[in-house]
Symmetry: C2
Subunit: 272 residues, 2 copies
DNA sequence: CGTATGTTTGAACTCCCTCAACTAGTGTGG
DNA sequence: CCACACTAGTTGAGGGAGTTCAAACATACG
């Protein structure tokens, strides 16, 4: 149920361009340090345009006509890589860009004044990021890479102009904003009303569905978050997350080893 | 800390037009049934334009030049009254309008499939409502009046056009959407990381601040929500809300009788 | 003015947290 | 290459914050 309407942002309008029926889990970097590490801790910028093949399956272009898409591409498309654990932006940073996760995954966290942190979001490839900065020109959250990732950079000011020119572009941005509003409201409901078991189940189903809608397997995936991240996102301790997953495994609902999760009994998971 | 940036939406650009230093609590309808009840359970539509005096202190016009404001006014301004307990829209209703609470207050609720409901938002006069419908042309939440209230109706399609004509209008809508995203993220943090005491304190401070920014007293207000609504919004039971308020009163932080709340020790409340 | 709805408070219970110990990976440096 | 440290995950035992159940009280709505 959780955010069932939200994940469509990851799908291309042109379904034929989807990444195909990848039955197994997404292409994980088995050897995590395989890619030569670029200089600098903050990741690198690439002047190269996002190739249209990459763009089509990302969140922004959905519903755009080809000529509009090309306008978007001239606008957007510098990319940036962010290494695992590094921040894409920090709470308080000036807001200049919206991002789309091109590969990898990220989390957003919000800090209380006393230092406590709460994970407020998980972004998989194809999902939008950075919308928390619109309201007052500073980011309200920080965004960290859960694994080595790349993002497309969309300059907000230019995007705004484009939205005034192209109706479908405006429509797309509004949907993106609206989706995040609904997703967050659904998460408030998870945090406010569900038991620990229900929260974990809802989370797994949410990730599963988002994976499926990006053309990957709904049944099997690697969650790059730690138990602590999951706990923070779900409003519980890492121990309770771990115990819950173990119990789900004993009940035959899932099969986990570490970060790799396989959903065995989808309906069972839905029923709590 | 909670959503400190959000409430500015209620302020008019022209500060001289603010409702003035109302030291006491907002003008509540003491005799609640004083206004003759119009026919029909769903409230009435009024063809009358929102007078500019009313509009200026509402959320939409902030940051608009006079001529742009008048364009907005020709667009918007049918109003509707919603009686206490009645719904302005329901989850699943087709999304046609955005609303601005003109008087009174409303709550938004989201339902789980099994029937459990979660209060996902509280809207005071001057705040925007209905943004949960943008993402898929159906409302994801329901909106109910906490007291007899009136709202301005802003047709979304027309608003979109206007946003393409007028940059400041686009800006305003984006801010509105961005503010809700940040507000909800902050509430996720409340639900996920704070203790019961902290949640109640954060809530009172949030309402206090929003009241203040609308020109009313930060120290004293009527919360039209029930303890159950508060509990739902804060992820706890009505009994715990009640106990917490009682304890705050014993500690000299607040003074409550029923729905009327007076903040005695603002700093104390901030320190938990 | 009476009844339904909302609020307060108490007492027992329980779900989840806290603290702790142990295991298994992963990266580092000798 | 192994030993080491370090981070991440699992599992257990005990305790506590908040829930549940219940009953009395207050408020306000029709």
């Amino acid at each position: 149920m959780l955010t069932s309407t939200a994940a469509q942002s990851a799908l291309a309008a042109d379904s034929a361009a989807s990444p195909g029926p990848a039955v197994s889990s997404p292409p994980q970097q088995r050897s995590r340090r395989a890619t030569p590490r670029a200089a600098g801790r903050t990741g690198t910028r690439s002047a190269a345009r996002c190739s249209s093949c990459a763009m089509r399956q990302l969140c922004m272009p959905q519903g755009l006509a080809p000529d509009e898409l090309s306008k978007l591409e001239t606008l957007i498309c510098s990319a940036r890589s962010v290494h695992r654990g590094d921040t894409l932006y920090r709470s308080g940073d000036s807001f200049d860009n919206i991002y789309a996760v091109r590969s990898g995954s990220m989390k957003t966290v919000m800090a209380h004044r006393d230092g406590r942190e709460q994970v407020t979001g998980l972004r998989l490839a194809g999902e939008a990021l950075g919308l928390d900065g619109i309201s007052d020109d500073r980011h309200a959250c920080s965004a960290l890479a859960l694994e080595d990732s790349t993002v497309c950079i969309v300059p907000y000011t230019a995007l705004k102009s484009l939205c005034r020119e192209i109706g479908s572009m405006q429509e797309r941005l509004h949907k993106l904003l609206g989706e995040q509003i609904v997703r967050e409201a659904a998460q408030m409901m998870v945090l406010g009303s569900l038991s620990a078991d229900e929260r974990v189940a809802a989370f797994l189903l949410d990730v599963s569905e988002r994976n499926a809608q990006r053309g990957y397997s709904w049944a099997e995936f690697n969650l790059r978050m730690t138990r602590e991240d999951m706990g923070s996102y779900l409003g519980m301790t890492l121990e309770t997350v771990s115990r819950t997953l173990s119990r789900f495994q004993k009940r035959g609902l899932i099969d986990t080893q570490g970060k790799h999760i396989r959903i065995v009994d989808l309906d069972g998971l839905r029923q709590v």
